[in-house]
Amino acid sequence: MTSDAEAAPDAAEGREPVLSVRDLKKYYFEQDSFLDSLLRRETQSVKAVDGISFDIQKGETLGLVGESGCGKSTTGETLLRLREATDGAIEFEGDDVLGMDRDELKAFRRRAQIVFQDPFSSLDPRMTIGDILVEPLKIHDLPAEVPSEQSKGEVRREKAKDYLERVGLSAGQIDRYPHEFSGGQRQRIGIARALMLEPEFIVLDEPVSALDVSVQAQVLNLLDDLQDEFGLTYLFIAHDLSVVRHICDRVAVMYLGNIVELGPTDDLFDDPKHPYTQALLDSVPRAAVEEQGRRVEPLPGDVPSPRNPPSGCRFRTRCPQVIPPKDVEIDQSTYREVMDLRDRIESNDLNLDTVWERADDENRSDKPAFKREFRAEFFAQGLSGENEATVERALDALAEDDHDRAAEILRERFASVCEQVRPVLQSGSHPAACHLYEQPERTEMAAEAPADD
């Protein structure tokens, strides 16, 4: 969070990262009782985080931004082993975090801490502020030695008072209970608790999302000051892009368990590469008069379920720039319609009853009428040439209720590179995982592709 932001990207290179994450995965398997497993054919997994890699440099603030369910909070908690990773590697200053045993993990906890989102749930309501702040010291039996004239308890309490003042509260409030404080004050206490062990690295999991804007600004300024004072490294998890822009040196954008773009803050905000980042930035309403009446082209639809994510590029089902095959000439909106149609056929989500109803044919024999109605419902404009012929053949198959063949016909002609190959982040300071940009060698990725199906 150095205020001279332009220094950040260069500073990121050449230094040893504090934290380095490689291909981290976190899948949740639905907790089944033995009866469920008796009845269910296969266990479903939720791919909350699906192979992400990034580094965090000493003293920087890396932002992890994305919409709800993209896996950003899971990432934060998995980094600190509050959840067990499914696969991947995490290195903290050269130590293998995932391989740590109990004692090593306890030692690791002194160096890496976390601040949570909800100021009302993050403090134990049955403890006084003093108890809350002293608890970390008790757990680690700190300080190891105390001056002879003072007891350990006194030393700890002094330290708690000191940190309470450093986060902007008064030491006199130490014996109060959490409910006597406002949301912003409670968030300050949560920060003080994380600082008590004097960590080097803090995961800030949506630390200001639950706060009102005026209080949010206070806490952001505090975080800024503390970073300077203690030389902290932050992983700042948030969904609010304005806040991220304000506080972060570099930003990683997540979508459905993947990092889609990573770069220095100003680069990423001024020149977003990934279509998702572009859409995201475009969607944010700014508190400025220029915003009045601005109409954004929002992304269509909802984020797909992480239980069954799309193959290839996770974003392709909503992407406004899906890449058609090289030999197919088709405009983007029509291509989107064709792709949506195919997705629905493939996921068995296409109900032809209404179309037949509109075609006014109970016997389902009037195919031309069916195709006419179908086009009216699914295609805004006409198609032409070979595209038209392919769609026609697919509709014929649909009219005969042969969904598999229809999908097959469409797939043959319209299959996109976006659905076949999962794009990865390139090297460099501002990579984007998107086929619109140069991707590494194909052979490398082909090996990875089957895992997505």
Partner: protein, 332 residues
């Protein structure tokens, strides 16, 4: 998950619970002190005869063989022989079952008919005399031991006022149905009134706790439900208050009520046992107490298994109704 799948899952689960019940019941007999042969035989009997009886009962077999035979017999309806009467346990239990079912069903019906409207009135007219009345009633109801209530009802209505009989069940509901089916409506009517006359006090005795409990649950559940946002949203879209209350709120109130009622069915059956003891009602409860006093273990075991299985079956029905009211359960 579809509804049928949900019910399949619940049934499998029920089967598991029944197995558990059978195992626990078998275990009870194993850890029980004393020798079943002693129940059958006079104390100083010839050891030869004694051994023969033990063989007959299968008690010389290893425990796992006994267990296996015990479990294997149950699906075929074989619950063993009564030690006292030497007749099949299953027959004895089945003979007593209708009386208990009549009592339990009568009590439940009375409870539901009284309790739900009472709870609704209490919740929608807070701080009204009706609310206080319902609150006092439900407090008394859940605090009164039903056997004592039965004794008091007998003293007041049977002994002092002579309005109802003190006990017994001269006619069963099956008789009424049989007569009605045989088109003997006159005698069916007589039988019905006799039946009603005899079942009134036991049903009140057994039903009071339940009525009170459901009233309480309905009241508190409805108050909770009325505070939810969708109630406000329903008002915002212009729905009349009656529609909001009864179509939306009451239905959602019943969902948790049903869960608790399902859990409390055991209480109902336990209550039936003691109610039967008070009113000399010839049902499963009387059978259990009698066989307990006679140390007739096979009958006691058989009754416990039937009661447990009955609880499981009723709970599956309750779950089905629950799923019907609450679409969320079948979609998780």
């Amino acid at each position: 998950m579809s509804l049928s799948r949900f019910l399949l899952k619940r049934s499998l689960h029920g089967l598991f619970v029944v197995w558990g019940v059978i195992t626990v019941v078998f275990g009870l007999r194993v850890i029980a002190p004393g020798d079943p042969a002693n129940v059958l035989l006079p104390p100083n009997v010839d050891p030869e005869v004694r051994q023969q009886v033990i063989r007959e009962l299968g008690l010389n077999e290893p425990l796992y063989v006994q267990y296996f035979e015990f479990v294997a017999g149950i699906p075929t309806g074989d619950l063993g022989l009564s030690l006292t009467t030497r007749t099949p346990v299953a027959a004895r239990v089945l003979a007593k079952l209708p009386a208990t079912l009549e009592l339990a069903v009568a009590a439940t019906v009375v409870a539901v008919i009284i309790a739900i409207p009472l709870g609704v009135i209490s919740a929608t007219r807070r701080h009204d005399p009706a609310d206080y009345g319902a609150t006092v009633f439900s407090l008394l109801g859940i605090s009164t031991p039903n056997f004592w209530l039965g004794v008091m009802l007998i003293i007041l209505f049977a002994v002092q006022l002579d309005m109802f009989p003190t006990s017994r069940r001269p006619v069963g509901f099956d008789t009424i149905v049989a007569q009605a089916l045989a088109l003997q409506f006159g005698s069916a009517w007589d039988a019905l009134t006799t039946w009603l006359w005899h079942i009134t006090l036991p049903a009140i005795t057994l039903g009071t706790y339940f009525t009170a409990l459901i009233t309480r649950l309905t009241r508190s559940g409805m108050l909770d439900e009325l505070g939810k946002t969708y109630v406000r949203a329903s008002r915002a879209k212009g729905l009349p208050e009656t529609l909001v209350r009864y179509k939306h709120v009451l239905r959602n109130t019943l969902i948790p009520v049903i869960t608790v009622v399902g859990l409390q069915l055991g209480t109902l059956i336990g209550g039936a046992v003691i109610t039967e003891a008070v009113f000399a009602w010839p049902g499963l409860g009387s059978l259990i107490i009698n066989s307990f006093n006679a140390r007739d273990w096979p009958v006691l075991q058989g009754s416990l298994i039937v009661v447990g299985a009955g609880f499981v079956v009723t709970n599956i029905l309750v779950d089905a109704f629950y799923a019907y009211l609450n679409p969320q359960v079948t979609y998780d």
